[in-house]
């Protein structure tokens, strides 16, 4: 899980890795995910989202599809 300065640099990196390009996430989307995952982490009642909750969280910030489905084990 890396930062990239531009979409072109993501493409260059994926080509060098021999990997398909994956969905791109903006900094604002990433902040939404980070706060959802971690804003209660130092509190007594914190817990990780369940897989079904994760799907909803991803969809809520515009990240949908098999790539973001934690219950799928067939995605290559």
């Amino acid at each position: 899980m890396l930062f990239f300065r531009s979409e072109e640099e993501v493409h260059e990196w994926c080509t060098a890795q021999g990997s398909p390009i994956r969905p791109l996430v903006t900094i604002d989307q990433l902040w939404n995910l980070a706060t959802t995952w971690y804003s209660t982490r130092l509190q007594e009642d914190s817990r990780r989202p369940r897989p079904d909750e994760m799907r909803e969280i991803f969809a809520g910030v515009g990240l949908e599809g098999d790539f973001w489905d934690p219950t799928l084990d067939t995605f290559g």
Binding site: F3, R5, R22, I27, W31, L42, T71
Partner: protein, 146 residues
């Protein structure tokens, strides 16, 4: 289990206050427990995916978003330097702390430096992007690689 919660909180609060992982003895002292109970709890917390341990079962590699070892993702907040496990966790550190901070990282391709200020409402405007090689279903197959 109530004791596991107290041990988890002791680990995370030590990271938050110091920027580095606690020893089992430090966790035991903070949680009002003993080292044997701490190590037992570590195994259960690993299964819950809130800790990642080194092979010795006692050293903490990850207490997401905090990293127990130096990484390329550094967050400065409140005069303390933290290491994050990945780009996602780099934003997770100020989110967990509820403190403003500065994320220092780099472009995965060019190595260009990233300096991103994050306040309590979120990061400053930025055109940088996040990319995960692995799909969500594979992240915990090998979380260190992810």
């Amino acid at each position: 289990m109530e004791r596991d919660i107290q041990i988890k909180l002791a680990v995370y609060r030590h990271f938050a206050e110091n920027g580095h992982p606690p020893s089992p003895g430090e966790v035991a002292d903070r949680a009002g427990s003993d080292v044997e109970s701490v190590l037992d709890a570590y195994g259960r917390l690993r299964a819950e995916r809130v800790l990642v341990l080194e092979a010795d079962g006692a050293s903490i590699r990850m207490a997401p978003p905090f990293s127990g070892i130096p990484t390329e993702h550094v967050v400065e907040a409140g005069g303390i330097e933290y290491f994050a496990n990945c780009a996602w966790d780099a934003l997770g550190v100020p989110a967990a702390l509820h403190e403003p901070g500065t994320v220092r990282s780099r472009c995965g391709q060019s190595g260009a430096p990233l300096h991103l200020h994050v306040d309590r409402q979120g990061p400053e405007p930025s055109d940088w992007l996040f990319h995960s090689l692995l799909p969500a279903a594979k992240w915990w197959d090998n979380i260190v690689f992810t």
